[in-house]
């Protein structure tokens, strides 16, 4: 039994369980959850820990035939129970109908939610083999997918239901014929079987002999000087193998995608709540947490910056010495002559837009495993979205030649840009070097929220001049983004925001400025669209408002301005082809748009509530059914 399961000071409980049909006796900590016993004690890592609070469903298992969330069940409660995990479904090796259907429809993307989804789908069809789509959705409501693959998942459950009931032949689960070309055909995902069976191991599922567990002490302050860090008591705590601070960094301490402004652990000061200050590697997670509580950090709080506009004011607190003006990056784009453009305009619109911070909330919290191999190669296994760059940065940080640094990319349980920054791999490498043991770190969901980068909150001011015919004559576009405490991917995000700023429209005169500043908020970083979303929100809203002002159809005003083959982009690249015309046609058709200006026409609109409109959430299919069945005379 691994030492992670029981803590030296407590008496283990002995659990007799039937797991996937086999009698098992397990020793567990009396406070352990069923999820811990399955994963750490029995190596059944198909059940995942996505949130640890019952919110996500990655840990769903059957206990005595009932599907439950194993992160919410004390293991001791399951004493004597029959437990069935995702590994128990396809025991003979052949996938179940549900698993095959998931494979068929391509229902697995990152795969991290998939074992739980397969379990929830299985439970749904076991409880009601005839469940209709509404009931399927409702019964699976406790399982969350962040790659937004719900449609394919529901499609899979309906196919499985019909195959099981004999309404569809078994061949409905076979792959579709591809013929000579993959283009235009559904192709099967090669990794789907490993995901639907729970066999795929993500970084948090991996173990190595002698492996230690890391926990990270994080800053409670947004901006503070570190006066002192006393690790003596933590170092002396039984079961602790090392305590790390920035003093343990042998090389040049700094990482970042564009500017290497972030130390592996806070150096001299902390710049945001949740910043890593020290780390402990110990025999168990619990020991590491107990030792962490013994580290004494003395802080001297500094005035903080929480609004990007304040960051630009003179006399504002300086967050990084190298950037006295707090500006991380300013990207200007100029084309034509905006003064002339605006004077040629019949109407000028001006509006401000803001977007908020967003967390990626990939279901796999950050996790990694590092070790030093027999050749002295420092190896880090993690779901990094940027391993080559991480490898180069780490070689400077640990002062080793590049051939002594290795990064292995583990399956990414959702990233969406959020796993591009090297926020924990450095600590793992240092701990492995210091202890000469494999070291693993798995973030809690809460830790992932406070420590990982977010989507840039933005404020945009846009001024647009147009002729009466709807042709744009000039645009002035200014975006200020909150970069948070570190640079991370901010520069790239600003570049993309600037390049895409005015949308797929050909504009002869424009002046674009995107700027990102440091604050003491959680750092902003890469997030799907990489700045495009914030800019498009402003520009597309402007297009709709312009249509309204000019009494034009919103599709029409876009067609008047759209880029075509031969157009010059905002950065003056000549396009060989453009597809926006077809995109507009398709969107117009699919939405059933009623032609005309977008002015509110209320209930008189003919395109409201048509086919394909999503009904509002209503009460459960089952409530209605029971009531009707029961009261039927």
């Amino acid at each position: 039994m691994p030492d992670t399961l029981t803590h030296p000071t407590v008496t283990a409980v002995t659990l007799d369980l039937t797991i996937n049909g086999r009698r098992q006796r397990v020793q567990a900590d009396p406070g352990a959850r069923l999820l811990d016993v399955l994963r750490d004690g029995l190596m059944l890592t198909g059940a995942k820990e996505g949130c640890g609070a019952g919110e996500c469903g990655t840990c769903s298992v059957f206990v005595d035939g009932k599907l439950i969330k194993s992160c919410l069940m004390p293991a001791a409660k399951a004493q004597g129970a029959e437990v069935e995990t995702v590994e128990g479904l396809a025991r003979t090796g052949d996938l179940t109908a549900v698993q095959k259907a998931f494979h068929k429809t391509g229902a697995s993307q990152c795969g991290y939610c998939i074992p739980g989804m397969v379990m929830a789908a299985t439970a749904t069809l076991r409880d009601n083999p005839d469940a209709d789509i509404e009931e399927i959705k409702e019964r699976m409501g406790g399982n969350i997918c962040r790659c937004t693959g719900y449609s394919k998942i529901f499609e899979a459950v309906e196919i499985a239901r019909d195959v099981i009931a004999g309404r569809l032949p078994h061949t409905a689960l076979d792959p579709e014929a591809v013929g000579n070309s993959f283009i235009g055909h559904n192709t099967r995902r090669l990794d789907a079987p490993s995901k639907v069976t729970g066999r795929l191991r993500y970084a948090g599922d991996m173990v190595m002999p002698g492996m230690l567990h890391m926990q990270v002490l994080r800053s409670p302050h947004a901006h503070a000087k570190i006066v002192s860090i006393d690790t003596t008591e933590a170092e002396a705590y039984p079961g602790v193998h090392c305590v790390l601070t920035c003093d343990d960094v042998p090389g040049e301490d700094g990482f970042g995608v564009f500017v290497e402004d972030q130390p592996v652990m806070a150096r001299d000061k902390v710049r945001h709540v949740g910043e890593a200050v020290a780390a402990v590697a110990a025999d168990s997670v619990r020991t590491a947490r107990e030792a962490m509580a013994l580290i004494r950090v003395e802080y001297d709080e500094l005035p903080g910056l929480f609004d990007p506009e304040d960051a630009l004011k003179s006399g504002a607190p300086v967050i990084h010495d190298y950037a006295a003006d707090n500006v991380v990056k300013h990207i200007p784009v100029r084309k034509g002559d905006i003064a002339a453009g605006f004077s040629a305009a019949d109407v000028i619109l001006e509006e401000s837009f803001s977007t908020q911070q967003v967390e990626h909330a990939y279901l796999e919290p950050e996790a990694g495993l590092a070790y030093v191999d027999h050749d002295g190669v420092v190896t880090v296994v993690s779901p990094s979205q940027n391993i080559t760059h991480h490898r180069h940065m780490l070689s400077h940080i640990i002062a080793k030649p590049i051939n002594k640094v290795r990064f292995i990319m583990s399956p990414v349980g959702g990233g969406f840009g959020g796993k591009e920054d090297m926020i924990y791999q450095g600590m793992l490498a240092l701990a492995a070097m210091k202890t000469r043991r494999p070291v693993k770190l798995v973030f809690t969901r809460e830790e992932s929220f406070v420590a990982s980068a977010k989507r840039h909150p933005s404020r945009t001011r846009c001024r647009m001049g147009l002729t009466k015919a709807g042709r744009i004559t000039a645009v002035e576009f200014e975006m200020l983004s909150d970069g948070g405490a570190y640079g991370m991917s901010s520069e790239g995000v600003m570049r993309k925001a600037a390049i895409l700023s005015c949308g797929p429209y050909e504009i002869e005169n424009l002046k674009v400025d995107t700027k990102v500043v440091y604050t003491n908020n959680t750092p902003s970083g890469a997030f799907r669209t990489f700045g495009g979303m914030q800019a498009q929100f402003a520009t597309e809203s402007m297009m709709d408002m312009a249509a309204e002002r000019l009494g034009m159809d919103p599709f029409e005003i876009r067609r008047v301005n759209m880029m075509r083959a031969g157009s010059l982009t905002h950065t003056q690249q000549k396009l060989a082809s453009a597809a926006i015309d077809r995109v507009l046609d398709a969107a117009e058709g699919a939405s059933g748009w009623e032609k005309g200006a977008p002015s509110v026409r209320g209930e008189s609109r003919g395109d409201l509530d048509g086919p394909g409109t999503r009904r509002p959430c209503t009460l459960g299919a089952r409530v209605r059914e029971t009531a009707t069945d029961r009261f039927r005379p």
Binding site: G31, G54, K66, L67, L72, A76, G142, E447
Partner: protein, 305 residues
């Protein structure tokens, strides 16, 4: 993280009470653990050390329910999924299936007990408003010397504020008893961010009984949750409805009243707006539920007339 030294699973109430009496300070009773485990997380309780956890789900007599005259006795082990799946409970407690359907998700409902929800006393607890409409009382037991003593308290009085109840140290709740209201139409309204796994911003429970023609209100019961430190029963509105013919005007009139009860610390205006719509829909949905049974086919039409 939750750490505990000893996990106990008593088989009888007496044993459970004895274990609780001798348990070191900080020990906890646990039922479904769906409030207890999420509480022991960073940002809430953090790392907590609970000396003894006393799991009451295997206590003899804690599972199941029975009809006692005009009242339903729900033993301490009753979980939310039962209100959705047990056809007799659906019939006897007609606003609980809707409450259950909106409560957490299927998996959590199989663990989450009604009593845990009441003892947890969250201002947003979904079980509280329907329990108020069902005139529920909670029975708690304690040891007096060697004797097991019980007392009963109306749920309305038992919950005194956010996370606060009249439960005394050494006491274990054993059952909730509520009115059996077969023949009433029941409804439950909830607003939150999504359909499953969502804590109510506001919730509202209703029970309505009409005369055989479905015109006159014989009895109406309404309660709100999420609008202040504790759930509230809307007796003033009930009084205005009783004996009356339900019309759109009357519903519109009574819908205006509860806004003043909103005493939340956040989103007050939003909650006021929601509450107004909720009282109307709660009554209408309760009537609609009666219509499904066929005997009151005109109830909804009466409103629309």
């Amino acid at each position: 993280m939750l750490y505990c030294d000893t996990y106990l699973q008593p088989a009888t109430l007496r044993e459970a009470l004895e274990l609780l009496r001798v348990a070191p300070e900080g020990s906890r009773v646990v039922a479904g653990a769906t409030d207890l485990l999420p509480w022991a997380r960073d940002g809430r309780g953090g790392d907590v050390q609970v000396p003894h956890l006393i799991d009451i789900t295997r206590v003899d007599g804690f599972s199941g329910w029975r009809l006692e005259g005009e009242r339903v006795r729900l033993n301490a082990g009753t979980v939310y999924q039962e209100f959705l799946e047990d056809p007799d409970l659906v019939r006897l407690l007609p606003n609980m299936p809707q409450c259950a359907a909106w409560f957490a998700d299927d998996q959590i409902r199989r663990q989450a007990t009604l009593i845990g929800n009441i003892v947890n006393a969250s201002p947003a607890g979904d079980g509280l408003p329907p329990m108020l409409t069902l005139n529920a009382t909670i029975e708690v037991a304690r040891l007096d010397g060697d004797r097991v003593q019980t007392r009963s308290v109306p749920v309305e009085a038992f919950v005194t504020g956010p996370g606060r109840t009249l439960l005394q140290p050494g006491e274990i709740a054993t059952a909730v008893t509520c009115d059996a209201v077969e023949g009433y139409g029941g409804s439950f309204q909830k607003v939150g961010l999504r359909r499953s796994l969502v804590i109510s911003a506001v919730c509202c429970a209703a029970l309505v009984k009409t005369d055989a023609k479905g015109r006159l209100v014989e009895d109406a019961r309404l309660a709100l949750g999420g609008v202040g430190p504790r759930p509230i029963r809307l007796r003033d509105i009930e009084e205005m409805l009783r004996g009356k013919e339900l019309t759109r005007d009357l519903i519109a009139k009574v819908s205006l009243l509860p806004a003043r009860h909103v005493a939340s610390r956040s989103r007050v205006e939003y909650r006021r707006a929601v509450v107004q719509g909720f009282v109307g829909s709660a009554i209408e949905d309760a009537l609609a539920a009666l219509c499904v049974c066929g005997t009151h086919s005109t109830a909804k039409e009466a409103v629309d007339a």
